[in-house]
């Protein structure tokens, strides 16, 4: 049905927008910025913070611009005296219930409420300060996320994220009136409920009420300890996000600058998670082929298909809570971060003549769930904690600033060897569909001896931001040892964001769909939209990061995981063969059934 156009005036300037647009949309079209707090481009309208109120000619009350649809002939004023006074009072009222110890707040300088308070020059003393009159709890039991209710303004971005976008529903609005609070089930700590640690709420919280648990000081301590060798690994998506937190526009690839900055910060070895992303493809690809053989040739009915990826720790915790009966379907491969951790304190230590007990392994991740993953008791296969500290992209940006490094002017540097070599296939792990594409590039070639039949190796059907993607690859003219796959059509699916994931896995559970392999990423857009990536996030910003990721892939000399020379070498020197004995010891894991709340 064709949409009607609506004509209105904003600040006396005529504008035409589609029916159903909001006043906020119309103002945006004319480049008038209306301040917002509860509104977010990824979420449904809430209209509860009232910061976006505007004046409408002829109307008595001030409508909220984010929640009011335009109508024909409307005349709106976004910055009249009446509006400014009302907004100032609204901000002051929000502050009267907000813990304004800004100097000691982790979000200091990055808080949307703080910047509005600055813009409107508010005087805090106009309203009674209610913070001291209430008892607040700070929930810091989770290794990933800290929830501080004293800083919450109840805009409910987190609740909308957790319920609609991620379908996790760990957070809810409990109680009412002045007792209203954002709560979990029975106000339990975040680590005791269904929370997947995905951090999407952290990405969207306008204040410091939800932040990642930071380990910056611990990492500085390790770096400053002369007896400790500090190894750092960086995930694929960090290199397309980090720049945003250091003054660059979204979509900048900063791989070389990031490596240079990490050296200047003082890390002893600067290595790449991409290396174990390639290794994941070898292990996971082999696991898939083994499962397919068992199912098709040996007619083993105990084999769980479709097999799903296991790289995303938010997804792993999600399935442990929500679909425990499907846990056998999850690949037993550890995530690239944890494979890296297990190898760095064994293989790398051996090669470099280091003692594992004198090593600290740090990872830079676009992710808050990785902090939880590193803390799992299973993740100590090297005999030590495989990854000691996980920092988000934001924490690294903070360290770069703390170190006084002029990031933009850094000359590109290269990762150290060994475990620093990467391929295009590893880089695209950072985007939804990337693991699938990397796996197909390798698996197809292992089975047929030929490259995947897509121009420039770009498997376009698995790319993009569609919630659930599907693709089919016909396998023919196979090598003799893979004869059982001749003529088979490999059917794959990809989901990103946990609401989409829930839809897909519910269909799998009901037996309505028949796939062989499924890639799941907990965050919208994959890791590039991860909970540890720079704030803000929006569909446009994520699209720019995705462009950057595929750009990086195109510019890599090697674009297939199995051609990574360091990967070939580690199998020859250390691991033996994919899914071999040593691999199972160090690179594979198991999962735990968890409660459904």
């Amino acid at each position: 049905m064709a949409k009607y156009e609506v004509n209105l005036k904003v600040n006396n300037i005529p504008v035409t927008v589609e029916e159903g647009s909001t006043i906020l949309d119309a103002a945006k079209k004319l480049n008038f910025r209306i301040p917002t707090l509860c509104q977010h481009p990824d979420l449904c309208v809430a209209g509860n913070c009232r910061v976006c109120v505007v004046e409408q000619k002829g109307a008595r009350a001030l409508p909220a611009a984010c929640a009011t649809p335009v109508s024909e002939g409307m005349e709106i004023f976004t910055n009249s005296q009446k509006v400014r006074t009302a907004r100032k009072h609204i901000i002051e009222l929000l502050l009267s219930e907000h813990n304004t110890e800004c100097t000691s707040c982790y979000k200091n300088g990055k808080c949307e409420l703080q910047s509005l308070a600055n813009e409107y020059r508010v005087n805090e003393n106009d309203f009674i300060k209610l913070v001291n009159k209430k008892t607040y709890t700070i929930d810091d039991y989770s290794p990933s996320i800290i929830k501080d209710d004293s800083k919450c303004i109840r805009c409910q971005r987190c609740v909308r994220t957790c319920t609609s976008m991620q379908f996790v529903s760990a957070l809810t609005v409990a109680h009412k009136g002045d007792h209203q609070k954002i709560s979990t089930f029975f106000d339990k700590p975040m680590n005791a409920v269904v929370c997947t640690n995905c951090g999407q709420c952290v990405n969207r919280c306008p204040t410091g009420a939800l932040v990642e648990k930071n380990y910056i000081d611990q990492v500085w301590d390790a770096i400053n300890n002369p007896n400790v060798h500090v190894v750092v690994q960086t995930a694929p998506a960090v290199r397309v996000g980090l720049g945003e937190d250091l003054g660059l526009e979204p979509g900048h690839r900063v791989t070389g600058k990031m490596v240079a900055a990490l050296r200047r910060i003082g890390f002893d070895s600067v290595l790449d998670t991409d290396f174990t992303a390639d290794l994941t493809i070898m292990e996971e690809g082999t696991e898939l082929l083994v499962r397919l053989k068992k199912a098709l040739v040996d007619k083993d009915e105990s084999v769980a298909l479709p097999m799903t990826t296991s790289c995303s720790p938010g997804w792993v915790k999600f399935i442990e809570h929500k679909f425990p009966s499907l846990l056998p379907n999850v690949s037993t491969c550890k995530s690239p971060q944890q494979m890296f951790g297990a190898l760095v304190k064994t293989f790398y230590a051996q090669k470099k003549g280091l003692k594992a007990e004198n090593m600290v392994s740090v990872s830079i991740m676009p992710c808050t769930a990785k902090k939880y993953e590193a803390d799992r008791p299973e993740m100590r296969d090297s005999g030590f904690k495989d990854v000691d500290y996980v920092l988000t992209t934001r924490e690294l940006a903070m360290m770069v600033r703390q170190a006084g490094i002029n990031f933009e002017d850094l000359a590109d540097e290269k990762y150290d060897s060994i475990m620093g070599e990467s391929t295009g296939a590893a880089v695209i792990f950072g985007a939804t569909g990337g693991v699938m594409e990397a796996a197909l590039r390798t698996a197809y070639e292992i089975v047929t001896g030929r490259e995947v039949p897509f121009t420039n190796l770009d498997i376009v059907p698995v790319r993009g931001f569609e919630g659930i993607k599907e693709a089919k690859v016909l396998i023919k003219d196979v090598l003799p040892e893979w004869g059982f796959l001749e003529g088979a059509e490999l059917s794959v699916a990809i989901a990103h964001g946990l609401a989409n994931t829930n839809k897909l896995m519910a269909a799998v559970q009901r037996g309505e769909v028949n796939y062989h392999f499924i890639e799941i990423m907990a965050c919208p857009g994959g890791c590039l939209g991860g909970g540890g990536q720079p704030i803000p996030t929006s569909p446009e910003i994520r699209a720019k990061r995705m462009e950057a990721i595929y750009d990086e892939d195109t510019h890599m000399a090697i674009r297939k995981s199995h051609e990574n020379p360091e990967v070939t070498a580690i199998y020859e020197e250390f691991l033996g063969k994919p899914n071999g004995h040593k691999s199972h010891e160090l690179l594979h894991t198991h999962y735990t059934k968890r409660k459904g709340y």
Partner: protein, 154 residues
């Protein structure tokens, strides 16, 4: 006390398995024993395929859907302005002394819980209190004590 599954099934039969059955189920549990336990909320969430947090959020929104243990008789004294001016503070004081609990507390024998509530629409006959579903208007301290003593004797 009725088994929670019985209440859930009974209400689902009547109201369906959709979200609209949530309030009748929660009210049914409270009607039975004045509060809802954690375990019961989980069962409700499971039965209606809702998230546990969501069910908890709904229950805590309503003053009369308690999720903390309450006594057999829940006394709610109106705290709104008419009853306040008519002397609800003295009523509460008298009840605190009689029951030997503070406002918000439950007697050790789990028989009484003493609470305040918002306006019950009896402003013309304040101060007023509610014991479970029974309204007692035009209270004096003596009257309130006498009423509660009847319940103690029950």
């Amino acid at each position: 006390m009725t088994d929670v599954n019985v209440i859930i099934n009974e209400k689902i039969e009547k109201f369906g398995k959709e979200r609209q059955a949530l309030m009748p189920i929660l009210q049914g549990i409270v009607a039975d024993k004045n509060y809802i336990t954690e375990d019961e909320l989980l069962k409700v969430a499971e039965a209606l395929d809702l998230s546990a947090a969501d069910v908890y959020g709904t229950a805590t929104f309503y003053t009369f859907l308690d999720v903390v243990p309450r006594g057999k008789y829940v006394i709610r004294v109106c705290k709104t302005i008419s009853c306040h001016m008519a002397g609800k503070d003295e009523i509460i004081e008298a009840l605190e002394k009689t029951l030997k609990v503070k406002l918000g507390e439950t007697t050790p024998d789990k028989k009484f819980t003493l609470l305040q509530a918002n306006c019950m629409g009896w402003c013309h006959k304040g101060p007023v209190m509610l014991i479970n579903d029974e309204v007692y208007p035009e209270l004096t301290s003596e009257k309130a004590i006498a009423i509660v003593e009847e319940y103690i004797a029950k």
